[in-house]
């Protein structure tokens, strides 16, 4: 596999990449308009059906684990130590007090990461990189830029593989890659110097290949993959606009009346992230033990 793209037959996959790019922009914008943890959480809940529609629930949850790590860190550390907090909510281990204002601040930040992360994952996993490139070209982005973007996807797995070979090649010269931190930092040179040269040579060669495939020819280019904005895209875009209108309305007129961000909500979401995080740790430990036991049985 070359990229994070997961080919599936779904409504989301069939949307034009441009629509999806607008969607990502909309989500980013929304996460700032909805400056309230409760509303953001609600927004996250509204986004989830799209993940389901894209048939990407499992890979989505896997990638969310990493973002959750940030969320746990931010919510815990900020909740306790952020100086803007004054009103205590609850206390753990005697001295450490979570304060309302800090928790709001931390939740807004963490949920924003989750919300934007959701949109980004949805976009990357449901959009073929070539489609993204050709959509960009339709937005008058220069061909060469779109190509660089696309070939980056292609070259990453190649570089990763070359890095492994270089590592082995240097180990064959008695380089100890395991060792203390200083040793490891020193090792970066014998790994990165050859890797840089090899990558440079590859890219250099590719530039000749591109010339021979008429890349620099003037005149219109065509593409095998076509992206077209259809009625589905319009419907989706109208949906986005509607949502945006509601958000602005909520924020402008109802923010004073609605007070969804209660102590309970904040506490539960904090504990919720802890619980999920705890599960992740357990799963990790379980796997470690399993491989250890397996390894012993093997030897």
């Amino acid at each position: 596999m070359n990229s994070l793209y997961l080919p599936k037959e779904s409504f989301i996959h069939n949307l034009d990449p441009r629509t999806k790019m607008i969607f990502v922009a909309f989500v980013v914008l929304s996460s700032f308009i909805l400056n309230d943890p409760a509303l953001q959480l609600l927004f996250l809940v509204f986004l989830f059906p799209l993940v389901v529609a894209a048939k990407l629930v499992k890979p989505y949850l896997i990638s969310m684990q990493f973002l959750l790590l940030f969320a746990v860190l931010i919510m815990t550390v900020h909740g306790i130590y952020n100086p803007i907090g004054v009103t205590p909510v609850f206390e753990i281990f005697g001295g450490l007090t979570f304060k309302y204002e800090s928790m709001v601040y931390a939740s807004v930040m963490s949920f924003r990461i989750l919300v934007i992360g959701t949109a980004a994952v949805l976009f990357v996993m449901s959009t073929h990189p070539s489609d993204m490139a050709s959509a960009l070209v339709k937005w008058k982005v220069p061909h060469s830029f779109a190509f660089i973007l696309l070939s980056t996807f292609q070259i990453i797995p190649i570089i990763a593989r070359e890095a492994k070979i270089v590592m082995e090649a240097q180990q064959a010269r008695c380089l100890d890659v395991k060792g203390n931190l200083i040793q490891r930092v020193k090792n970066l040179i014998p790994i990165f110097a050859p890797l840089f040269i090899i990558t440079f040579m590859k890219v250099h060669q590719l530039s000749y290949v591109l010339e021979c495939r008429a890349f620099s020819r003037e005149g219109a280019k065509t593409s095998l993959r076509d992206t077209r904005i259809g009625y589905k895209d319009y419907a989706f875009l109208i949906g986005i606009l509607l949502f945006l209108a509601i958000e602005i309305y909520l924020q402008l007129y109802l923010s004073g009346f609605l007070n969804l961000t209660t102590d309970a909500l904040l506490t539960y979401s904090l504990i919720g992230t802890w619980v999920v995080f705890g599960f992740m740790i357990l799963k990790f430990i379980f796997k470690r033990v399993q491989s250890l036991v397996g390894g012993v049985a093997d030897a």
Partner: protein, 286 residues
Amino acid sequence: MLKNQRAIEVSGLSFLFPDAEVKALRNINFSVDYGEILGIIGPTGAGKSTLAMCINGLVPQVIQGELEGKVYVKGLDVHKGNVAKMSEHVGFVFQEPENQLSQMTIEEEVAFGLGNLGVPREQMEGRIKEALQQVGLLGFEKRSPLALSGGQQQRLAIASVLAMKPTIMIMDEPTSMLDPKGKNEVYDVLRSLKEHGMTGIIIDHEVERIAEYCDKVLVLNEGEEQMFGPSAEVFAQIDTLHQLTMHAPQVTELLHQYNQKNKQDVKLSTSIEEAAAILENAYIKS
């Protein structure tokens, strides 16, 4: 006047790299007729690749330097056009299969050149299918090029060039990075292209292959043309090859050594069958 029946005509070609003191190519003259395959052989650093790249204009338009002399392809002055324009006439396949890949799927890889030429989408599918068929990769369209073997990747590179419908194909050591199976795959493709009347240039160190597949051979050494002619004639000049630290196909070498040892003068053939017949004949006589 300048138009002629030759597919490739090179006259008085010299090339000097910017920082170099010695010319990489000196006064090269040769021609290739339509339907002919030319093999270029020579030691490392002889200027084989540089010469090949003069024929589609990569030298001196992309790889710059001082060029003298003329290169005509299908009657067109290569150095008045540009590489992109020449790509419709001359296809170029490089040594490293993987460095020629830039797309996510095989069909897109083949379509890439077509897209650059502005071929309408409706025509693309047919041309992709045709090209993949020629190299035996039909049915692989949706796969990732990185998942292919070296031989398959090199065939894909050939298909990507073929789709652009060039009349002339240049291959610069297309099999040197491949295993025997991959080498055979690529040479099988080459054979079928030759049967379809393709004009081509191949650079390869494997003289046995060159002798088998090429009509003419050009021998380069230190930027100078040492020999040029039908392959049988060139490989018969075995002493000259040895002086240039090169060698002829093994069967030719055997015949040559047989001659020397037994003070004979049997014909220096390059094919196994002919060599066997010659030796048998000579042996019976003795």
